[in-house]
C-alpha cells in the first residue's frame, strides 16, 4: 500500500530525514520508535503533506500513486490520516461541523453523496461511544479547552469517522493515563482490518502492549537503523536507545 523509497527531507536547511525506506502492506501495523528528535514526527508530517518540510529526495507511493504530488486534502481523500502529536485548536468551528465538512469533502472527492446533518449524527453515534466522547466535546470548538487526553481521543474519533486506509499515529499515547490509553488503543484496534494499514509512531513501548504491531522499526538520526518483529520493542524497552544510537553513530 505504502512505499517509501530513499526519502530525504529538510527543514530550515537542516536535513532531518536522511534516506528512509519503508514498505507497508494492507492489514499490517508498523511501529516506528526512536529517541526524541530522531525525525519521527517529521516523517509523519511529510506523509500528510505539511509544507514546512521540504522533500529533497526519494519518493512515496500510495498504491502506486505519487503521494508527494498530492495536496494534503487529496491525500486525505485518498485515504491517508495523520493523528497529530499536537492536535491543533480551531477556534470558532464546532467539532461536529468540522468533522461533517471533512467527511463530506472526502465523500465528494470519491463521488459519493454528502451526508445531511441528521444522517451524519446517526453515522457517528457508535463511534462517539467507542471513544467515550462527551456531548460537550462534540459541540465545543475543535480541540478548544480539551485536555491532552481529550485531544488524543478526538484524533482517534476523527479517524474512526473518516475511515482512512492508511492511519499514521504520532505519539498518540503521550500525555495519556493508563485508562485513557486503553480507550484510545481500543478505538485504534477496532479499526484494524485486512484492508487497512497503520503506522504507529511512539517513543515508548507502553502503547505497543495495547496496539500490538507486526513490525517495529527504529529511527535514529533520520534513518531506520533496525527493523524487526514486536520483540524488538521489548528489547528496546530493556536496553534503552543508547546502544542502538551508538550503532547508528558508528554506521553514519
Amino acid at each position: 500500500m505504502l512505499d517509501i523509497r530513499n526519502l530525504h527531507a529538510k527543514v530550515e536547511d537542516r536535513e532531518i530525514l536522511r534516506g528512509i525506506d519503508l514498505k507497508v502492506n494492507a492489514g499490517e501495523v508498523h511501529a516506528i520508535m526512536g529517541p526524541n528528535g530522531s525525525g519521527k514526527s517529521t516523517l509523519a508530517q511529510v506523509l500528510a503533506g505539511r509544507d514546512t518540510y521540504e522533500v529533497t529526495g526519494g519518493e512515496i507511493l500510495l498504491d502506486g500513486k505519487d503521494l508527494l504530488e498530492m495536496e494534503p486534502e487529496v491525500r486525505a481523500a485518498e485515504g491517508l490520516f495523520l493523528a497529530f502529536q499536537y492536535p491543533v485548536e480551531i477556534h470558532g468551528v464546532s467539532n461536529t461541523y468540522f468533522l461533517r465538512a471533512a467527511l463530506n469533502a472526502i465523500r465528494k472527492y470519491r463521488g459519493e453523496p454528502e451526508l445531511s446533518a441528521g444522517k451524519f449524527l446517526g453515522y457517528i453515534k457508535e463511534k462517539i461511544q467507542l471513544l467515550g466522547l462527551t456531548p460537550d466535546m462534540l459541540t465545543r470548538a475543535v480541540n478548544e479547552g480539551f485536555s491532552g487526553g481529550e485531544k488524543k481521543r478526538n484524533e482517534i474519533f476523527q479517524m474512526a469517522v473518516l475511515e482512512p486506509r492508511l492511519c499514521v499515529l504520532d505519539e498518540t499515547d503521550s500525555g495519556l493515563d493508563i485508562d485513557a490509553l486503553k480507550v484510545v488503543a481500543n478505538g485504534v484496534n477496532a479499526l484494524r482490518s485486512p484492508e487497512r494499514a497503520m503506522i504507529v509512531v511512539t517513543h515508548y513501548q507502553r502503547l505497543l502492549n495495547y496496539i500490538v504491531p507486526d513490525f517495529v522499526h527504529v529511527l535514529v538520526n533520520g534513518r531506520i537503523v533496525r527493523s524487526g518483529g514486536k520483540e524488538l520493542a521489548l528489547a528496546l524497552e530493556e536496553q534503552g536507545y543508547g546502544e542502538i544510537e551508538e550503532l547508528a553513530g558508528a554506521s553514519a
Binding site: 503533506g49 486534502e73 486525505a76 468533522l99 469533502a105 454528502e114
Partner: protein, 442 residues
C-alpha cells in the same frame, strides 16, 4: 484678488450651508435649552471644521473626498422596497423605521412592550418631554467632535427609548435606519436617546441599512444605564458601499449596571464609529464586542474610549477585523482609569486578519492609568490565517480555499456568538457568510 483676510480663513465646509437651509423646519424650536445647544453646536462645528489627517484622531481617516461632496440637507423621497424582505425584519421586536432620516409611519411593527416608552424624538420635543431636556446633549460632546456638533445642530428626528424603573423588557426595541438614493447625495443626522432607569433590563437593536447611493448618515446615540440596570445594545452597520457612516455613541453607566455593546460593521465606503462609555459607578460591567469586515476600498475606523471613574469596574473589549482587497482598518482603543477607580479590571483585545497584501490596519491601544491597584491588559494582533490551523483542516480532507474561508468566518463569528439575541446573532452570522463570499458548506 483675494485679501489676506480671506486667504487666512479656512473655507467653510459646504455642509455648514445646511444650518440656514433647514433652520425653519428643525423640531423643538422655541425650546430655549435646545436652541442654545444648537447655536453652540453650530459655532463648535464652524470652529472645528471637517477634520483633516493632521488631526490626531483622524490621522488614518481622510475626509478629503467627503468634504467636496455637495450633500443635500434632505433626501428626495425614495422607496426602499428591499427593506421589507431584509432578514432583519424577521426579528421579533418592537420596530421603528426611518427612511433617509425621515420617520416612516408604515414601517413600524408590534406594540410597544410594557415598561418602556418609545417615541419619536420630534414628538418628544413637541411634548416638551422632561426626560429629553434632562439628558439630550449631556453626554455627546459637540465641542470636541465636529460630527456630534453637526448632528446636534441639524438633527430633525430620531428616537427616545425610556425603560421604566425595574422593568424587564424582553422584546427588543429595534430602530431601523434605511437609506437609499438614486439622485443626489444627502445627509441625515438621526439622534437617539436611550434611558434605562435603575433596576431595568432591555435590549436595543440599531440597524443602519443601505440600499445604494452616496449619502452621509451621522447618527449620535446617547445611552444612560441606571444603577443596577442592564442593557444590551447591538448595532448593525450595513450601509451602502458608497456611503459615509460617521457615528457616535456616548454611554454613561451607574453603579452595578451592565452595558453590552455589540457592534457589527459590514458596510459603508467610510465607516467611523466613536464609542465612549463612562463607568460612573462602582461594580460596573461593560462589554464592548466589535466585528468589522472590509472589502474593496472600504475604510472602517473604530475609536473606543472607556472611562473607569469609580472602583471595582470591569470592562472587556474585543474587536476583530477582517480586511481584504484594498480595505483599511483603524482601531484606537483608549482606557482611562481615573484616580478613584481602584480594583479596575480592564481587558482589551483587538485582532485584525489581513487577507490581502493591500489591506492595512492601524491599531493603537492607549492606556492611561491614574489608580495604583488595577489590572489592565491589552493585546493587539495583526496577521494572516494561521498556517497550522489551515493544514490541520486540509489534512482532514477539507480543500484549501474552503479551509481558509472557514477559518476566516470562525475568526469573526467568535465575537458574533456573544450577541445575546439569537435571531440577531444568526442574521449577522449569515450576513458575514455572504459578505465573505461563502465558500464552505453552511
Amino acid at each position: 484678488m483675494a485679501t489676506p483676510d480671506t486667504l487666512a480663513r479656512p473655507e467653510e465646509p459646504l455642509i455648514a450651508g445646511h444650518f440656514s437651509a433647514v433652520a425653519d423646519r428643525l423640531p423643538g424650536r422655541g425650546l430655549g435649552w435646545l436652541e442654545r445647544q444648537r447655536e453652540q453646536a453650530r459655532a463648535d462645528f464652524r470652529r472645528l471644521g471637517i477634520p483633516t489627517t493632521k488631526h490626531e484622531e483622524w490621522r488614518y481617516t481622510p475626509l478629503r473626498d467627503f468634504s467636496s461632496i455637495d450633500f443635500a440637507p434632505r433626501a428626495i423621497a425614495c422607496d426602499v422596497p428591499e427593506l421589507a424582505s431584509h432578514p432583519i425584519y424577521g426579528i421579533e421586536a418592537f420596530r421603528l423605521v426611518f427612511k433617509n432620516g425621515v420617520y416612516d409611519p408604515d414601517g413600524g411593527l408590534g406594540e410597544c412592550p410594557m415598561g418602556v416608552r418609545v417615541l419619536r424624538l420630534a414628538d418628544a420635543l413637541a411634548q416638551e418631554d422632561p426626560l429629553v431636556r434632562d439628558h439630550l446633549g449631556q453626554y455627546a460632546k459637540a465641542h470636541e467632535h465636529p460630527f456630534v456638533a453637526l448632528n446636534t445642530a441639524l438633527f430633525e428626528d430620531g428616537v427616545v427609548v425610556h425603560v421604566s424603573r425595574n422593568a424587564v423588557v424582553e422584546t427588543p426595541i429595534h430602530l431601523v435606519f434605511a437609506s437609499k438614493t438614486s439622485h443626489a447625495p444627502f445627509a441625515a443626522h438621526p439622534r437617539v436617546l436611550i434611558v434605562v432607569e435603575p433596576g431595568a433590563e432591555a435590549t436595543v437593536l440599531e440597524s443602519h441599512l443601505g440600499f445604494g447611493g452616496v449619502y452621509l448618515s451621522n447618527p449620535v446615540v446617547e445611552v444612560i444605564v441606571g444603577e443596577n440596570a442592564k442593557l444590551e445594545h447591538t448595532k448593525l452597520q450595513d450601509e451602502s458601499l458608497e456611503a459615509y457612516h460617521i457615528a457616535t455613541i456616548d454611554g454613561l453607566q451607574g453603579s452595578d449596571s451592565v452595558y453590552t455593546s455589540n457592534s457589527v460593521q459590514y458596510g459603508a465606503k467610510l465607516g467611523r464609529t466613536d464609542l465612549n462609555v463612562f463607568l460612573n459607578g462602582q461594580n460596573v460591567e461593560c462589554w464592548l464586542n466589535g466585528v468589522y469586515v472590509g472589502m474593496g476600498s472600504q475604510l472602517l475606523d473604530n475609536h473606543t474610549r472607556l472611562d473607569h471613574a469609580q472602583p471595582n469596574g470591569n470592562s472587556f473589549e474585543v474587536y476583530k477585523g477582517i480586511l481584504d482587497e484594498r480595505s483599511n482598518g483603524v482601531f484606537n482603543g483608549k482606557i482611562y482609569v481615573h484616580q478613584d477607580a481602584q480594583k479596575t479590571d480592564a481587558k482589551q483585545t483587538n485582532q485584525a486578519l489581513l487577507l490581502s497584501r493591500n489591506a492595512t490596519i492601524e491599531t493603537k491601544p492607549q492606556l492611561e492609568i491614574y489608580a495604583d491597584d488595577v489590572k489592565c491588559t491589552h493585546g493587539a494582533t495583526v496577521g494572516q490565517l494561521d498556517a497550522e490551523s489551515t493544514f490541520y483542516l486540509r489534512s482532514r480532507g477539507i480543500p484549501e480555499a474552503t479551509a481558509k474561508s472557514l477559518l476566516t468566518y470562525a475568526f469573526a463569528s467568535e465575537v458574533l456568538e456573544r450577541i445575546g439575541n439569537e435571531a440577531v446573532r444568526e442574521i449577522t452570522e449569515r450576513m458575514l457568510y455572504a459578505k465573505l463570499g461563502g465558500g464552505f458548506p453552511a
